[in-house]
C-alpha cells in the first residue's frame, strides 16, 4: 500500500511544482500590472465632514491626474475611500473592509485616534504606508510610528513656526496660549512653552477651556489681565475663537490673534466676521487664491475646479502626491511596494518641488514636514494674505 502510494504522491508533487513554475511568470506579471491602491478612511459625514469632503476631492483629483498621465511606471493608481463619520471604530471597520477587498499599499487615516489604533496593525502587516488628517506631535516619531507620516508640520512645529515669526517680529514678546481640554488641544502646549522660552519669549498665561465651550467671558478677563502681545489658539476649529477675539477687542486688548492649521481654512477664518480682521495663523500650504508666486500645480487645480478649494483639499491633494512620489521611487529602485520600502523611499525626498503647493522645496527626513507660513486675514478682500516668508524649522 505504502509503496504504491509514494510514487503517485511524488508524481503529484512534480506536477504541482511544474505548474507552479509555469504559472510563476504570469503571477509576477499580474503583480507588476496591478493597480497601486490608496485606501482612505474619510470623514464624509459627522463633525469633521467639512474637511473630509475636501480631502476626498483632493485625493481623487490627484489620482485622476496621475492616471490620465499614464500612471506610475505603467501602473494605475486606484483610490478607494470609505466614509467613517469621524468615529474610530467605523474608521477601523473601513480599513478592514478596504484591505480585505484590495491589496492596499497606501492609506489615508482620518484622526489621531485612528492613527494610534491602527498602528499595531500597520506594523503587523508591514504592507502599508499611511498618512492622514492628524498632525499630532505623538505621531512624529519614526521609531513608534514607522509606517506613518504627517503631511505637514506637527502641532508643536506649527506653533514653533508661529513663535519663530513672533520672535522675529517682536523680540521678547508675551505670548498667551488658549487651548481646548482635549487630546488635540493639549498636544503642543508643554513643548511650545519651552520653545517660547528658548526663543526669549514669555508665556504669561495658559488658558484651557472645555471643548465646545461658548461662554468664555471669565477666560477673556484672565487673558486681558495677562496683557499678551500675541494669543495663540489651538485645539479648536472655530468656536470659541471669535468670542475671544471680539470680547478681547471690546475690552481694549491689543493682542494679535493666531491659530493653527484646522482653524486656518479661508472659509473658517472669514466666518469670524469683521472683528477678526488681521487674524493670523500658520498654514503649511499655499491658499487656493494665492498668486503671489508661481505655482503650476495650483494652476492645474484652478483649471480643474474654478471655485475656491479648501486647505483640506490641498492637504488631500498633497498627500496623494507624496504617496505617488514614494511609490514611484520604490518602483524605480526595483523594490516591492511595502510599508518599509515606501517609507524609506518617502524619506529620500529631498528639496522636492510640490508645484507650488508649499512655497519652498521640502525634505522629509522623519515623519513630518516642518514647513509653514504665517498668513493674515484681510476681511475686506475676504482673503488670507501672506504675513511672513516660508519658515522651515529644520533649517
Amino acid at each position: 500500500m505504502h509503496k504504491t502510494l509514494q510514487p503517485s504522491l511524488r508524481r503529484r508533487a512534480l506536477v504541482l511544482a511544474a505548474s507552479a513554475a509555469l504559472a510563476a511568470p504570469f503571477a509576477a506579471q499580474a503583480q507588476s500590472n496591478e493597480d497601486i491602491v490608496i485606501g482612505g478612511s474619510i470623514p464624509m459625514t459627522g463633525v469633521f465632514a467639512f474637511a473630509g469632503v475636501g480631502i476626498n476631492a483632493g485625493m481623487a483629483d490627484y489620482v485622476k491626474m496621475v492616471n490620465d498621465a499614464g500612471g506610475i511606471k505603467g501602473r494605475k493608481l486606484r483610490y478607494v475611500p470609505e466614509d467613517t463619520g469621524y468615529k474610530v471604530d467605523v474608521s477601523v471597520a473601513a480599513y478592514k473592509k478596504i484591505t480585505s477587498q484590495n491589496k492596499v499599499n497606501l492609506y489615508y487615516g482620518d484622526s489621531t485616534g485612528f492613527a494610534k489604533t491602527i498602528n499595531p496593525e500597520l506594523d503587523r502587516s508591514g504592507q502599508i504606508l499611511m498618512a492622514g488628517a492628524s498632525f499630532a506631535t505623538e505621531l512624529n516619531d519614526p521609531a513608534k510610528f514607522p509606517n506613518q507620516f504627517l503631511v505637514g508640520p506637527d502641532y508643536t512645529e506649527q506653533i514653533g513656526i508661529l513663535l519663530k515669526h513672533i520672535a522675529k517680529e517682536k523680540p521678547g514678546a508675551k505670548v498667551a496660549f488658549v487651548y481646548s481640554d482635549s487630546e488635540f488641544g493639549r498636544d503642543p502646549i508643554e513643548a511650545s512653552e519651552a520653545a517660547a522660552k528658548k526663543l526669549g519669549l514669555t508665556v504669561p498665561v495658559k488658558l484651557m477651556t472645555p471643548a465646545g465651550s461658548v461662554d468664555v467671558s471669565t477666560e477673556v478677563i484672565k487673558l486681558r489681565r495677562a496683557a499678551p502681545d500675541y494669543t495663540i489658539f489651538h485645539g479648536y476649529i472655530l468656536a470659541p475663537i471669535p468670542e475671544f477675539v471680539q470680547q478681547g477687542k471690546q475690552m481694549g486688548m491689543t493682542s494679535k490673534w493666531m491659530g493653527t492649521f484646522w482653524t486656518m481654512d479661508s472659509s473658517t477664518v472669514m466666518k469670524m466676521g469683521e472683528g477678526a480682521d488681521g487674524f493670523m495663523g500658520v498654514m503649511p500650504y499655499r491658499y487656493y487664491y494665492d498668486t503671489s508666486a508661481k505655482a503650476p500645480m495650483l494652476d492645474k487645480i484652478r483649471a480643474l475646479r474654478p471655485e475656491y478649494q479648501s486647505t483640506a483639499y490641498t492637504q488631500g491633494f498633497l498627500t496623494a502626491m507624496l504617496f505617488t512620489e514614494a511609490a514611484k521611487r520604490t518602483l524605480e529602485a526595483g523594490k516591492p511596494l511595502d510599508g518599509k520600502n515606501l517609507k524609506a523611499a518617502l524619506n529620500t525626498i529631498k528639496d522636492f518641488d510640490t508645484g507650488g503647493l508649499i512655497g519652498t522645496p521640502i525634505t522629509i527626513s522623519g515623519n513630518s514636514i516642518p514647513v509653514g507660513r504665517v498668513y493674515k486675514a484681510d476681511m475686506k478682500a475676504q482673503k488670507m494674505v501672506p504675513a511672513s516668508d516660508w519658515i522651515n524649522l529644520s533649517k
Binding site: 476626498n56 477601523v92 471597520a93 478592514k96 477587498q101 485616534g113 494610534k116 482635549s182 487630546e183
Partner: protein
C-alpha cells in the same frame, strides 16, 4: 410546527431552552459561530468582534434599564473604567488577560455601586441625568491622572494566550465571542432566580416590591453593580480589541448608543439586547454596502454618505413608532407564526 411541549415540572417550565426545535437551532447557531472565523474575511471578523462587545455591554444595560427600570447614561463610563483597568494591569503588571478582564469588571462594578446610590431617591429622567455625572467624572479622571496617561491615553499590548499574542480579529474572536456568550447566558439565567425576579418587581412598581419584602437599597445597587460589571468586562474586551484607550474613547454618545440599542432591540428581553446591539452596529455598515452597490463611484459616495445617516435615523424612529416592543417582539411574532405553520398562518 411545534407540538409536544408539555411541561411536567416547574424546572422544565423554567428551562431556558425548552423544545427540541430550539435546541436544534441553537446547535446550528453554535456550529455557525464556530465555522464563521474560517470563512469570513478580516472585515467581517472585525465586525463580529465589535458586535459581540456591544452585545455584552448592551446585555448589561438591559439588566439595569430593561429589567430593573433604572435608566442609566453611564454605560460608556463604566466601559471606560473596565478598559483602563485592563490597560493598566496589562502594561504595568502583565497579568493574565482573563484575570484582567475580571478585574476590569470588578472596578467598573465598584464605580456602578457608587453611581447607583442616587437611584434610591430619583428615578426616570432624573436618574439618567444623575448617571451622566459618571461620564464627566471618569472623563476628567482619565484625562488628568498620571496613571491613565493623560489625554494621550494608554497603548495596550496584545493579550497573550500561552505565549500566543491575540493581535488579530481571528484570534480575538475566540476570546470575545465565548466571553460574550457566557455573559448573555448569565444574564438569561439571572431572571430565573430570586434576584432577577426581584429586579423585575422593582421595575414594575418599586413601592410594591418593598412591601413584598424586597430591600430596594440592596437590589437597586446590585442591579447597578451587575450592569456595570458587564460594562467593565465589555470595556476590557474593547481595550484588547482596539489596543489604545484614551479619555475620548468612551464619550457620552456611546452611552446613548447602548440605550438606543436596548430600546430598538426590546427592553426587558435578553434577545432584545442582542438584536439591538446587532442592529445598531451592523445597519450603518450594511447601508454602506448597499450604497457601494449603486453605480456612480466616489462622487456618489460623497453625495450618499449624509443620506445614509438620515436613513439610519429614520429606521430607528420607524422601529420605535411601528414596533415599540422592539426587534425582540418582531422575532417572537415570527416564531409564533411558525409554531402552527403550515396549518394556520
Amino acid at each position: 410546527m411545534r407540538i409536544g411541549t408539555l411541561k411536567e415540572s416547574y424546572i422544565a417550565d423554567a428551562a431556558l431552552f425548552d423544545s427540541r426545535t430550539q435546541k436544534t437551532w441553537l446547535a446550528i447557531g453554535a456550529a455557525l459561530l464556530l465555522l464563521f472565523p474560517f470563512v469570513a474575511s478580516d472585515y467581517w471578523l472585525y465586525l463580529a468582534c465589535l458586535v459581540a462587545i456591544n452585545v455584552a455591554s448592551a446585555s448589561g444595560l438591559n439588566i439595569l434599564t430593561g429589567y430593573t427600570g433604572l435608566v442609566s447614561l453611564g454605560q460608556a463610563a463604566f466601559m471606560g473604567l473596565g478598559a483602563y483597568t485592563v490597560a493598566i494591569l496589562e502594561t504595568r503588571l502583565g497579568t493574565h488577560f482573563l484575570l484582567n478582564l475580571l478585574a476590569g469588571g470588578t472596578v467598573a462594578m465598584l464605580g456602578g455601586l457608587i453611581v447607583g446610590i442616587p437611584s434610591l431617591r430619583v428615578k426616570g429622567l432624573y436618574l439618567a441625568i444623575a448617571t451622566i455625572a459618571a461620564s464627566f467624572i471618569t472623563h476628567f479622571l482619565f484625562a488628568n491622572l498620571k496613571l491613565t496617561g493623560g489625554t494621550t491615553g494608554l497603548s495596550v499590548p496584545p493579550a497573550q494566550f500561552f505565549g500566543l499574542p491575540l493581535d488579530t480579529s481571528f484570534r480575538l474572536y475566540w476570546v470575545i465571542v465565548p466571553v460574550m456568550l457566557l455573559m448573555v447566558l448569565g444574564a438569561a439565567n439571572l431572571f430565573r432566580t430570586r434576584v432577577g425576579r426581584a429586579f423585575i418587581a422593582i421595575r414594575d412598581r418599586d413601592i410594591s416590591a418593598e412591601v413584598l419584602g424586597i430591600p430596594l437599597l440592596r437590589y437597586k445597587l446590585l442591579s447597578f453593580g451587575l450592569s456595570s460589571f458587564y460594562a467593565g468586562v465589555a470595556g476590557g474586551l474593547w481595550a484588547y480589541f482596539f489596543r489604545v484607550v484614551t479619555p475620548e474613547s468612551f464619550p457620552l454618545l456611546m452611552s446613548i448608543f447602548f440605550l438606543a440599542a436596548i430600546i430598538v432591540g426590546g427592553m426587558g428581553s435578553i434577545l432584545g439586547g442582542i438584536l439591538g446591539a446587532i442592529f445598531m452596529t451592523m445597519v450603518p455598515e450594511l447601508l454602506k454596502l448597499i450604497v457601494d452597490l449603486l453605480p456612480g463611484g466616489t462622487e456618489m459616495t460623497v453625495f450618499l454618505s449624509p443620506v445614509r445617516t438620515v436613513v439610519f435615523g429614520l429606521l430607528i424612529v420607524g422601529f420605535l413608532v411601528f414596533e415599540p416592543h422592539g426587534l425582540a417582539e418582531v422575532w417572537r411574532r415570527t416564531r409564533r407564526f411558525f409554531h402552527l405553520w403550515p396549518f394556520r398562518n
